[in-house]
């Protein structure tokens, strides 16, 4: 029982972090209908920014979430404005291939700059644990990461629903033609959306660096987790990535207890395929996004 509780707690903490990793991916997919295969590379870029700042000036990785987010926002804005916007009206193969090419470039750039070694960002406090009754341990690092991830996700939802910028992003996602008629600059809004998504990925990357090891080879794994969390939660609902991330975290934690080896990954993919086959709009998504073809 204690083991089960421990796994549940761990799954929820991991799920919060997965939600932050996936929320930008889900946003870009929902608004622009672009599946960004380079999302995992953005997460890693954030982790490496935090690592460099830690090595250079001893900055705490959780503080580094801010500069990592700012840096990746700029990068994401430029990439969308001057590259992805060129093909955003194309069939899905085109955007998938473009972002895959981007992923190859970014991952190999990181391999070249930082080598393939597994890295982590040490902090003084992350190793310690909060012990709850029933011998359930909560590592401080993971707790801080999950709480910050939750706060950022909530903040993003607030920005999307309550500010003019957020509403113009959502409006462009629903009907680009109508949004343009209302005076919204679609090119700028798309770039902004991609920038925000990259910023969230960068912040998530800094948090990942604080609680676990990472190497350039992990990029594909982060992208896949984002896929699964977005689909599980459903598109078109800002809370979707959060639900999806928590469910994925729990499935992984419980599966890790029951199944040998890495079979838990197969379970995650099986859940994904089943959800897609029987409830393509996800847990909280709107059917509109599930039935939508290429715009």
């Amino acid at each position: 029982m204690a083991q089960f509780l421990q796994a549940t707690v761990y799954g929820l903490l991991q799920g919060g972090l997965l939600a932050l990793i996936a929320v930008g991916f889900s946003l870009v997919w929902g608004v622009m209908n672009v599946v960004n295969l380079s999302h995992g590379a953005f997460v890693l870029a954030g982790a490496y920014v935090a690592l460099q700042l830690h090595d250079a000036v001893g900055l705490d990785p959780f503080v580094s979430m801010v500069p990592a987010a700012l840096l990746l926002f700029g990068f994401g804005y430029v990439v969308q404005r001057y590259l992805v916007n060129l093909v955003v009206n194309g069939p899905i193969f085109i955007t998938l291939l473009l972002t895959f090419g981007l992923e190859l470039v970014l991952v190999n750039l990181m391999l070249y700059l930082f080598t393939a070694d597994h890295q982590s960002i040490p902090t003084g406090y992350a190793e310690g644990s909060l012990v709850l009754p029933g011998d359930v341990r909560i590592p401080y690092g993971r707790l801080i990461a999950a709480l910050l991830a939750l706060a950022l996700t909530v903040a993003l939802v607030y920005v999307m629903r309550r500010t003019r910028t957020g509403l113009s992003i959502l409006a462009t996602g629903m009907d680009r033609g109508a949004a343009r008629l209302m005076g919204i600059k679609a090119r700028h809004v798309y770039a902004l959306t991609f920038g925000i998504a990259a910023a969230m990925a960068g912040a998530a990357g800094a948090a990942v660096g604080a609680v676990s090891t990472f190497s350039p080879a992990d990029a594909g794994r982060f992208t896949l987790f984002s896929f699964v969390a977005s689909v599980l939660g459903g598109l078109g609902n800002m809370w979707g990535a959060l639900y999806g991330g928590l469910v994925l975290g729990l499935v992984q934690a419980w599966g890790g207890q029951l199944l040998p080896g890495t079979l838990v990954n197969a379970v995650a993919f099986a859940v994904l395929v089943l959800v897609l086959a029987f409830r393509p709009q996800g847990i909280a998504g709107k059917p509109f996004y599930a039935s939508r073809l290429e715009v």
Partner: protein, 352 residues
């Protein structure tokens, strides 16, 4: 009396035949691909004695990708369903062959045929629910199938050797079939490539091919025209999977030792997609041109810029996708027809 008969000015009694009258032009259009394919086969056979062993292996790999890209084109290009888990069938064919040869002591040729059948059945089984999805959702669901299959293969160490791989005995008394050697594999991949292209030619000019193209353009309209879209899609998916499985089987026998991570590598799927899209999807010639140019470019970069070749390959994909989003053959066809050759004008096509 049908309109065609009036146009021909003939008095035809009885039911009019549905097939169009055979003119010299249509005959030429119908036979040209076969003549070119036969020429390609002869060229491939004639080329072999001129090659060093290393070059022979390189051309074998290129031929393998011609077969893979053409097979992917059946579902991805003609029907427009972006199967991002195509490598599942490649790996399934390879592991099916390895398991049958190791555990059942089957000959390679029998195992290859059986692997193709297994891939066909597996694709039909997962295709039935998944082909109801569209666009990105289908792409991701198939990707999930491939990743899941890899995890299953990795986690059955007693049967598949797990992450440590499985080795097919190819020499000595235990070997069900002897290793074919560089010459043998060159010919095997040449024949496989020719066979897959032959299937593509048949599909391209048949009713089934038109049904798939109609599904690509508008699935509801296609269904309204009386096409059994579920059957057409599932057959295209399963047929493509069977061909991919046969190629994977041959590759496994050539490599002798196969590993889950490499047999189910997403990069193989992506290479197929890159080749088809850059060459021109939905055509017979496009995937061939795409496969040959991308495979050679990749090998050339690997030998000349070993450290950064994937970096450069990624850059090439980005540039090619932006400049030629509809693929080489489609670009040339449209450009010749409209007499507009500007690539910059081409970029405007999908720009926001």
């Amino acid at each position: 009396m049908s309109i065609v008969d009036v146009g021909q000015g003939q008095e035809v009694a009885g039911p009019a035949t549905p097939s169009a009258p055979v003119t010299a032009a249509s005959l030429r259009r119908r036979t040209t691909p076969w003549v070119l394919l036969a020429a390609g086969l002869l060229f491939g056979i004639g080329l072999q004695p001129q090659l060093y062993p290393a070059q022979e292996r390189l051309v074998s790999t290129v031929l393998m990708f011609v077969a893979l890209a053409t097979a992917w084109n059946l579902i991805g290009g003609f029907a427009g369903y972006a199967s991002f888990g195509q490598v599942a069938f490649f790996g399934l064919g390879g592991y099916g062959t390895a398991l049958m040869m190791v555990h059942l002591n089957m000959s390679f040729w029998l195992a290859m045929a059986a692997s193709a059948v297994v891939a066909f059945l597996f694709a039909a089984l997962v295709g039935a629910p998944l082909l109801r999805l569209k666009g990105h959702y289908f792409a991701i669901a198939t990707l999930g199938v491939a990743e899941g299959l890899r995890e299953v293969v990795t986690n059955l160490p007693k049967l598949t050797g797990g992450g440590g791989g499985i080795t097919i005995p190819t020499f000595g008394p235990n070997a069900p079939t002897r290793w074919l050697g560089n010459d043998g594999f060159y010919l095997l991949f040449l024949f496989l490539a020719v066979a897959v292209v032959a299937v593509a030619i048949v599909v391209a000019s048949s009713r089934g091919g038109y049904a798939l193209r109609a599904i690509h353009q508008d699935e509801d309209a296609a269904a309204a025209m009386g096409i059994n879209t579920t059957l057409a899609k599932t057959l295209a998916f399963a047929g493509s999977a069977a061909l991919t499985g046969a190629v994977g089987s041959a590759r496994a026998f050539q490599l002798q030792t196969i590993y889950p991570d490499r047999s189910f590598d997403v990069a193989i799927t992506v290479l197929m997609v890159v080749m088809v899209v850059l060459g021109g999807s939905g055509t017979v010639l496009g995937p061939i041109i795409g496969a040959i140019s991308v495979a050679f470019a990749s090998e050339w970069l690997r030998t000349n810029y070993t450290d950064v070749h994937i970096f450069l390959l990624g850059g090439m994909i980005i540039v090619a996708v932006v400049l030629l989003p509809q693929g080489f053959t489609n670009y040339v066809r449209d450009a010749v027809r409209a007499r507009r050759f500007s690539l910059l004008e081409n970029v405007r096509r999908y720009r926001l």
